[in-house]
Symmetry: C2
Subunit: 334 residues, 2 copies
Amino acid sequence: MLKINSLLTAAMLAGSVSVANAWDALPAEAPAPADNPTTPAKVALGKMLYHDPRLSSTGTVSCASCHNVMLGGEDNRPVAMGVNGQTGGRSAPTVWNSAFNAVQFWDGRAESLEAQAAGPVTNPIEMGMKSWDEVVARLESIDGYKKAFNDAFGGNPISKDLATKAIAAYERTLITPNSPYDKFVGGEKSALTEQQVRGMNKVAELGCTGCHSGPAFNGPGMFQKFPVYSNGMYQAKYHFNKDLGLAEVTKKPDDEHKFKVPTLRNIALTAPYFHNGSVKTLAEAVKVMAKLQLNKDLSDSEIADIVAFLNALTGEFPSQTMPTLPGTPGSTFN
Amino acid sequence: MLKINSLLTAAMLAGSVSVANAWDALPAEAPAPADNPTTPAKVALGKMLYHDPRLSSTGTVSCASCHNVMLGGEDNRPVAMGVNGQTGGRSAPTVWNSAFNAVQFWDGRAESLEAQAAGPVTNPIEMGMKSWDEVVARLESIDGYKKAFNDAFGGNPISKDLATKAIAAYERTLITPNSPYDKFVGGEKSALTEQQVRGMNKVAELGCTGCHSGPAFNGPGMFQKFPVYSNGMYQAKYHFNKDLGLAEVTKKPDDEHKFKVPTLRNIALTAPYFHNGSVKTLAEAVKVMAKLQLNKDLSDSEIADIVAFLNALTGEFPSQTMPTLPGTPGSTFN
C-alpha cells in the first residue's frame, strides 16, 4: 500500500490522474442495461451467434473472426479482413473487457455493445449481409436457432434487436480478471516485478492515466484527440492523420481526429497497435504515444519499464466451451 | 436384434454388403499410428494449431475455418474459401470421424491425417503460407508455442513433422458417438423411428452399403468411380465430370473420376453435397446417388425414408474447451 500511496501522491502532484479511478482492479462482472439483463440462456445464444460464420454473406466470417476470443480478443492484423478478403482502414479492437468501454468502435459511434453488434454484420466489407432482414430469415430457417431464441427470449420472434441483445449478453461475460496488476492492487506486492512497478509509476508520472484511467484503463468514456502534437516523421511513417475518427461520423471539424480511448488491458496480446494498426511493437507504441500525446521523449529504459508494466495487464482468460452451432437446413426432405 | 438379423439377411441376399462390416457402432476411440501415439499434450498442442488463423498468410484462415468443429466439421459452403476469398473446386469434407477414413482428401491423396494436415497450410488458395519453413519460423517466434511443442515432444525442435503429428492427434479425438443409429445397433430398438428403420433396410437392399460400409459408412478405404452411370441431365445440372478425382493426382486414365468414399456420419449437417458441393439437399443427393451409382429411380417415399435414416447418423458432439492461443510477438521491448 505504501507504494500505491506514494504513487497516488505522485500522480496527484502531476495533476493528471483522478484519484477515484486510479489503480482499480477489474470488476468480476460487467453491468448490464436495464432492458437486457444477462441470463444464461441469452449468453448461450449469444455465444452461438458470435461464433457463427453463417452470419456473413460468404459463410466464412463470424464476429470471432476479427474479435478472436482464443487470441487476445482480436486478430493480430493491422486492419481487419472481412468477406472476400476485403480490408478497411481500422484495426479490430479487442472484445475482452469491451463491456467496460463507455462507447464502442474506434470512433465511438455505438453507445452500447448491443448497438455495436448490429454494425459489422451488414457492413459490406466486414460480414457483408445485405440487411438484418436477410440475417433474420437465415436464422429462422435453422431450427436450432428457433429453439435457442425461444429459450432466451420466451417466444418473441427472432429479430435484429434480440440477436444483438444476445451477442451483447455474451460479450459482457468476456472479462479477464486476476492480471499481475490486479493482484498487486489487491495487496499481493510480489505480483509485480520491480521493473513493472517502475513502469507503473512512470505511467502515472507522465500522465498516461489522464486518459487511460479506471479499471480498464480506458478513461471515463471520453474521446481524446490523437495526435495532440503534430510530428512530421511519425505522420510520414504511420499516416495517423488520414482517419478523421469521430468526425467521420459527426462531420464536425471539432471532432476531427478524436478517438475512443482504448483499454490497455491485455495490450501485450493485441499487436499491432493504434486505430490503423500501423505500429508493430508495444515499445514503439509507447514511444509514439509519449511523443504525440505528451510531447515527451522517453529513454529506452523508460520505455522498457512501461512495456513491462503493460505486460502486467494481461489477465486470466476464462475457460469457455465451444458452442455447438445448430445445423444448416438443406438436410431434410422437401 | 431380430430387425438387424433380418436386415443382414436382406443385405446378404442383395450380395452387396460385407457381413463383417455391416451395422457396426462407431468406436469410442480411433487407432493412432505407431510413430504418433495420442497423448494429452499432443492433443492440446494440436487443438491450438488447428484453431490458429496465424497458420495462414493473412492470419485469417485456420484449419477450423473450413473444417469447423462448432458446425458439422466443415463449412456448409459448396466449395471451401481460403485466404483472400479464394475458392477451389471442392467442398470441404468433415473432420468429424475423419480418423476412420483410410485415406484423406476427396482424391485420397493423403494416406494419413498427418499427411493431410501438411497440405492446406501451404496451398496458395487455402492457407497460403509460402512454405513450412515459414510456418515453423512463425511458430518459433511465439514463446507459448515453444513451450507447447516442448510439452508434447520433449525438446525436439518445432518442425512440420511435429506440427502435423499434433494436429492429427487432436483430429483423432474428434469422434461423434451415440447417434440414434449407434443406440439402435447397441440394442435400443426405440432409438430409430419406423421410417428410419425402413430407410436403413432400403439402404442395404439397394446396395448403398456396398461402398458406404463399416462403422463410419465410408468403406474399407477403397476408391469408387463416380458417376458409374452417365446421365446427361445431372451432368448438365451438377457438372460432376469436371473433376477427375484420383486421376488429377496419378494422371492415370484408370483413375479418372475415382473418389474416396466419404463417411455418411453427420451427413445431415454437412450440406451442400458431393465433391463439388453442387447439390443442396440431402434428398436430392440420395436421388442422384441412386441414379448415378446404381441406376435406380427412387420414389419420393423411398428417398424420405433414406433421408430419415441418414438423420439418425448424427452423433453426439463432445464438449470441447476453446484453446487459449499463445500471444503474437510484437509486444516485448526490442
